[in-house]
């Protein structure tokens, strides 16, 4: 077993350092390990890859990518911004909250943090600059707030996780993400509140309230709220259809995703007319390529988790970690720190695929101490690993959201980094809360009797 671990680690590190695509890195390291155990490596790895992709659950991924692209191109950004402006825009420092709330909604609907940064950011960052908010603060806010959309359902990374963790209920994961995602968003807005109290210059937006008597003014506010909501409602309905459909048992997660495609096609092409029919091949191709990148990773990882499991390596890692400390608080801190480091240089999907099979057994042991069932631990750990890796999307040197944010905001990573630090502290605080308080994650699924 030791030689397998050494071969896996050494080949993985060398291939990764050479900038070989991660999917090839994983498949290559697995190949060498199978060779070392004396199996027909070519056949075994190819077989695991092909059968790893051949799954109906995973079909939800291309569909959510496709509906995300359609919604993202379909001009929902400004409708969500108008809605958020009525909700929180009138507060002191209001535009900062508008930005954060819009990012949360957009990220949830489009399922892509990068799309949230570029779509919401390209409108909100210049607008906030104009209203006197510091430019680097605006970029830092958009970058971090956009990642919350990956925790708020529906979310593709949760489908990837459910596969990596061995068939965890996608419905339970979706529900589990709601409160942690909101907590993460509130933590980010907490930073905005602090900055406003410190005297940040940006102002809120005045609501166009008319009328002389209290009743008239109230009616005017209600009318504004209704206008904002009704504009955004059709986009938000997507989330309701998906989550509601899965929970009521009318359709599976994969079917819900296909219906989301049909619905977002209707919204973007027929209702809002923001996407032209002749743009559809390009959108389908983009979705196909994005999906293929994820699928190749999933295929390669299913080979890797097979060889790791056949050598009892996850159990050995978990025994070694438990040998270091029996204290759940220390162990969780160690796992979180390691994932934070991994997240700074590795994308979310490969990180989830690689580290879920390794750390989940340790988590199961910790869960026993806390009195959680096996499936509750799988759900809780899914939210922990996703929330953790969200932070990595915004960290230098290789945070994909940070790159896009700096591009949209026309600034540099070096200038934004000081502004990012308070947001990181807030996100880590939220992560610790999510980690050490499983009830936050398990409450909403519990209402629906999940996980069974």
């Amino acid at each position: 077993m030791i030689e397998i671990i050494v071969i896996m680690l050494v080949s993985f590190v060398i291939l990764m350092a050479l900038d070989v695509p991660i999917a090839v890195t994983i498949a290559g390291a697995t190949f060498l390990c199978v060779v070392a155990t004396g199996g027909d490596a070519s056949f075994i790895v190819a077989n695991k890859m092909a059968n790893g992709i051949d799954s109906f659950t995973l079909l939800a991924i291309p569909f959510f990518v496709l509906s995300g692209l359609l919604m993202g191109q379909g001009g929902i950004a400004h409708r969500l911004i108008n809605f958020a402006a009525v909700l929180v825009g009138w507060l002191p420092g209001g535009l900062a909250y508008v930005n954060a709330v819009t990012c949360m909604l957009f990220g949830s609907i489009s399922g892509s943090a990068s799309a949230a940064v570029s779509s919401v950011g390209s409108f909100m960052i210049p607008e906030m600059n104009r209203k006197g908010y510091p430019k680097e603060f605006n970029v830092a806010l958009t970058t971090t707030a956009a990642t919350t959309g990956l925790i708020i359902p529906p979310s593709n990374i949760m489908i990837v996780y459910s596969m990596a963790a061995g068939s965890v209920s996608v419905a339970a994961l979706f529900l589990a993400g709601i409160l942690p995602g909101i907590v993460m968003g509130l933590a980010i807005m907490g930073v905005c509140l602090l900055r406003t109290m410190q005297g940040m210059t940006g102002k809120g937006e005045r609501l166009q309230v008319v009328g002389n008597t209290r009743g008239e003014r109230l009616r005017s506010v209600m009318a504004l709220l209704w206008t904002g909501f009704s504009q955004a409602a059709l986009s938000l309905l997507l989330v309701v259809i998906v989550i509601g459909g899965i929970l009521s048992g009318i359709f599976t997660a994969t079917e819900a995703a296909a219906i989301a495609v049909a619905y977002s096609f209707y919204l973007a092409v027929i209702h809002y007319k923001e996407v032209k029919l002749k743009e559809m091949p390009g959108i389908l191709l983009q979705a196909g390529i994005t999906t293929s990148v994820v699928m190749l990773l999933i295929g390669a990882s299913s080979g890797m988790s097979w060889i790791l499991a056949s050598q009892n390596i996850p159990q050995a890692v978990s025994a070694a970690l438990l040998g270091l400390s029996e204290n759940p608080i220390v162990l969780l801190l160690a796992i979180n720190l390691l994932l934070l480091v991994v997240g700074t240089f590795m994308d979310m999907t490969p990180a989830v695929l690689i580290f879920t099979p390794i750390f989940l057994p340790v988590m199961q042991k910790i869960g026993l101490i806390w009195g959680l069932t096996e499936s509750e631990v799988s759900i809780h750990f899914g939210i922990i690993i996703i929330a953790n890796l969200c932070i990595g999307l915004c960290t230098p040197p290789v945070g994909s959201c940070l790159f896009i944010g700096c591009g949209v905001g026309r600034t540099t990573i070096a200038k934004v980094t000081p502004q990012l630090i308070p947001f990181f502290i807030a996100m880590i605080a939220a992560l610790l809360l999510i980690t050490y308080w499983p009830a936050l994650t398990l409450l909403v699924p519990g209402w629906f009797g999940l996980p069974k």
Partner: protein, 187 residues
């Protein structure tokens, strides 16, 4: 990520792109058909019980082949799309360490990385894929609902390997040509 792709003009790439686009469209329609027929079937039985009428023209339930066809299309779309992703250099990598190398080492590392991708294509996708197809052929595996031979599903694995090799050789030559030009033209 969210940029929309334009369809390339090169015949081989264009062919693969069209196949991926068709497979993606077929996937959506197929899964919607699956849900639709199941819901219609349930509605039919409910109406027949409620009003005791005959609705023979409506489907009895979910068409049996929709899930199988979807999985088949997905394997094909993913592996052909993966080859295209090599052509576009869209696969996720960790360029943090390689970008810290000295320029000349970096060029060498880049070439080695291309060669390793080709080794992956030859050893796993082509050699492993051919074995996979042969196994499925000799055992005569069939998919239950469509009656499709399983080796047809697996055939895309070695095919994808072949395309990965073609695209990687092209990328490698392009990189070598670029670094050669960089040396000739002083900055």
């Amino acid at each position: 990520m969210s940029e929309i792709q334009t369809i390339r003009t090169r015949p081989l790439v264009k062919l693969l792109e069209i196949l991926v686009i068709l497979a993606m469209s077929a996937l959506v329609i197929d899964v919607l058909l699956g849900v639709g027929t199941r819901q219609l079937g349930m509605l039919k039985f409910w109406m027949m019980e409620q009003w005791s009428i005959s609705l023979g023209f409506l489907p009895d339930g979910q068409i049996k082949w929709s899930e199988e066809l979807a999985r088949f299309l997905m394997v094909w779309a993913s592996l052909l799309g993966a080859a295209l992703a090599f052509e576009r250099r869209a696969h996720l990598g960790v360029d943090f360490f390689a970008s810290k190398f000295h320029p000349s080492t970096r060029k060498l590392a880049q070439s080695i990385a291309h060669l390793l991708v080709m080794a992956f294509a030859v050893l796993i996708l082509i050699k492993g894929g051919v074995t996979l197809v042969e196994h499925a052929r000799s055992s005569g595996q069939m998919t239950p609902a469509l009656g499709l031979r399983k080796w047809v599903v697996y055939l895309v694995v070695p095919m994808s390997g072949l395309f990965v090799i073609i695209f990687t050789i092209e990328n490698m030559l392009a990189d070598l040509r670029r670094s050669f030009l960089d040396e000739e033209v002083p900055e």
